[in-house]
Amino acid sequence: MDNFISKKIKGFNYKNYIVYISFGLVLLFFSITLFNKGFLSPENLMNILRQTAMISVMAVGMTFTISAAEIDLSIGSIVALSALVAALVLRSAGIILAVLAGLSVGAVTGLLNGIIVSKVRIPSFLVTLGTSSIISGLARKITNLEAVPIIDKRFNFIFGSGDIGPISTLFLWTLVIMIVGDLVYRKTPFGRAVLATGGNKSAARFSGIRTDAVKVAVMTISAVCAAFAGILYAGRLHGARYTLGEADVMTVIAAVVIGGTSFTGGRGTVVGSIIGSIIMGMLNNGLLLMGLSVSDQMIARGIIIILAVSLSLREAKND
């Protein structure tokens, strides 16, 4: 990751390391204000990593989508449906089948999104707003709003509740997804195709990139990541519920944007998005530890986000 940063700096693209400064600032802030309140205790730090795992996983997928200058609002609903499907399948079948079933929810929705976006040329914002509403509806109907408990210990251990030594399996999953995502994003022709499509669509076409296929691919990636996040939620909570992921879309997008991926596409980093998601997690965690009222937590969160990003921008520009 170090040589990753330095490489970018050589490329004069300070935008890509702003997020690390923000991260440092927020960490510093809480370390000072909460130094005696267990913020820096290993357990708490592991808590943060565990709690942000699902957001991080979705952020990896969303990084591809936003880099290609598209957006995916359907991830929240996919989380819920995939978790429910996996939980239901698990009643009668094995883990592998359950996971595949869950993921296929994402795959199907993502393909649908992608095809409509690239063939019918409706803005992905509208398409995914629509599918999101459809999928949420299905998630509500599939069990008629009832939560589905998961008793399969192995499933729960592997996806979310287990620890290997001091390390939560959720964190391990995040690592895996991050590494795979980062390599695909930075080191494969596909990753370049995504960046090119987002950065200058016609230039990409002129260079012989099938931009339509790329759009289908990125929509599918973010959807499948969301489906996997749903499975992790199910494993973490030992059950699934139609409300899962409802509130996550904005958090995920925020994480990706804080991570330095540009809405206009063509620019971004996977690792940055993960850091962004951890920053959001630190905020929830730290502000709660401060013992602030819910209202004060909201105010503080807003101020810190804006301040952190502004300050890091300054930093980054000044050198």
């Binding site: 004069f12 390599l183 080191k187 370049r192 200058n200 230039a203 076409r205 012989g208 063509g266």
Partner: protein, 512 residues
């Protein structure tokens, strides 16, 4: 060198055609662009393709490269019919193209752009170090200093153009299409490019070369094809034709080109309309001082990256000078941005059409009138009737090839887009006109027209500061020329002081 051209042309005379595009038809909506065009190019032959703006050159090239689908017509490679529906297909048949419009990804590095869609891989992953190494070699060949790791958006327009060329060359094509590759390059780079083209000829590569600089055509091409109204109006060996014949075929009449257009009344250089004193900006401009007088057309000549653009941008308020003063009509200006510049009668025609010139997704009218909406206000609201008239008149004056002024600029041909950019400067009626390569990609006829317009503006008692990479344009317009090297004025040529200002003298002045 001409001799050498002939020699290997003769060699390939008998060879079969590397590429044939036969009876190509293409219409965009109702706008018939190509009405049965046939072009053929042999191995090791350089085919020059010319035609006035909007004649259909780029369209034809894009059809050959698989960007557009022809309505009818066939394409043969090495005598065999080929069908491909996209750029990959064309590339598979060994075709590579330098597009006229910017076609790099600004947010990616130079190296990433060069190898886009065919990156060398080591195992599963892209081998970046090889990319960078190959890129560095390619640039050394071209002897330009471009770091493959810089982001394209940080490059000057000239350097971006070079990257586009290298990107095509690096693909080692059998057929190479160059659509106005020399636009916004200076003679230095152009010579390099021509050396390359000659090398490729010897390797038996077929080349189609599009340009509005007929001199370049006669220098480098074996055959020339002229497009007019969507048909081929001339197809002959360069050795058999005169430049005037080509122009005749292009526009149906002769035009006298290239000689100096003198001011109507000679200029009295007392009170300067624009004065620049001790200008300094970063390491790109050092202590630059000069004056422009009413009626004066002052040229700034220099190599790529010598800082010409930066001088203009400092005057115009786009960059903040670190030292020095900008004085207009004897008044020291405190300029915070172009809006202030424009208030004081300045206006800049930028060199970067796509980025700084046009709003591609909006109509010709909206683009032309952009600087003057305020002036078009009648009480609260804009008088669109008046605006339409102004826009239409200007478009006709510059004879922009279009359906109407409501057409989107993005669908205009490159040269016509440039005319739109230039038109903006006319609506503002500037006192000091700053021109940075104002006629990139504009055809011979329109260039004449614009040259006269510029002279008229000066004759009305305004000042003109002209940056151009085309020395013939400089020679045609400039009364005085400041020669710039690495941000310093190293010499001033002035007709009134008896200096001769011609293409040759200028070229030599900036080189040494």
């Amino acid at each position: 060198m001409a001799g050498m051209v002939k020699i290997d042309f003769e060699e390939n005379n008998t060879g079969i055609y590397a590429l044939e595009a036969i009876d190509i038809h293409k219409a965009f909506f109702k706008n018939e662009v190509l009405k049965g065009v046939t072009v053929k190019v042999k191995k090791g032959e350089v085919l020059g393709l010319v035609g006035s703006n909007g004649a259909g050159k780029s369209t034809l090239m894009k059809i050959i490269n698989g960007v557009y689908k022809a309505d009818s017509g066939i394409i043969k490679i090495n005598g065999e019919k080929v069908y491909y529906k996209d750029v990959q297909g064309a590339r598979a048949s060994g075709i590579a193209m330098v597009y006229q419009e910017f076609s790099l990804v600004p947010t990616m590095t130079v190296a990433q752009n060069l190898f886009l869609a065919e990156e060398p891989k080591k195992g599963l992953f892209i081998d970046d170090s090889t990319c960078i190494k190959k890129a560095q070699e390619a640039f050394k060949d071209f002897n330009v200093e471009i770091d493959p790791r810089t982001y394209v958006e940080d490059l000057s327009i000239g350097n971006q153009q070079i990257v586009e060329i290298v990107k095509a060359l690096i693909r080692k094509p059998a057929v190479l299409i160059l659509d106005e590759p020399t636009a916004s390059l200076t003679q230095k780079e152009i010579n390099r490019l021509f050396d390359f083209i000659k090398r490729l000829k010897q390797q038996g590569i077929a080349i189609i070369f599009v340009s509005h600089h007929l001199r370049e055509i006669t220098d480098i091409c074996d055959r020339v094809v002229v497009l007019r109204d969507g048909r081929v109006s001339l197809d002959d060996y360069v050795k058999n034709v005169e430049i005037q014949q080509i122009i005749q075929a292009m526009i149906g009449r002769k035009v006298t080109t290239y000689e100096y257009i003198p001011p109507k009344t000679n200029i009295t250089r007392k009170q300067p309309i624009l004065e620049v004193r001790g200008l300094k900006w970063r390491d790109k401009i050092n202590d630059v001082s000069f004056s422009v007088y009413p009626g004066d057309i002052v040229g700034i000549a220099g190599l790529l990256g010598s800082g010409r653009t930066e001088i203009l941008k400092n005057i115009y308020g786009l960059y903040r000078p670190e030292k020095g003063e900008i004085i207009v009509n004897g008044q020291i200006l405190k300029i915070n941005g172009p809006w202030d510049g424009i208030k004081h009668g300045l206006f800049l025609v930028p060199e970067n059409r796509r980025k700084e010139g046009i709003i591609a997704g909006q109509s010709i009218r909206h683009n032309i009138l952009l600087p003057v909406w305020r002036r078009l206000k009648k009480r609260l609201f804009i008088d669109d009737g008046k605006g339409k008239k102004i826009a239409t008149d200007l478009s006709q004056k510059l004879n922009i090839k279009m359906v109407d002024t409501e057409q989107y600029v993005e669908v205009l041909s490159g040269g016509n887009q440039q005319k739109v950019v230039f038109a903006k400067s006319l609506v503002t009626g500037p006192k000091v006109l700053l021109l940075d390569d104002p006629t990139v990609g504009i055809d011979v006829e329109a260039k004449n027209e614009i040259a006269n317009l510029i002279r008229n503006i000066a004759d009305e008692g305004n000042g003109v500061l002209l940056v151009s990479s085309e020395m013939e344009e400089m020679a045609r317009l400039a009364d005085r020329v400041l020669v710039l090297r690495q941000g310093k004025i190293i010499r001033e040529l002035s007709r009134c002081k008896g200096d001769i200002i011609t293409e040759e003298t200028l070229t030599e002045a900036i080189q040494l």
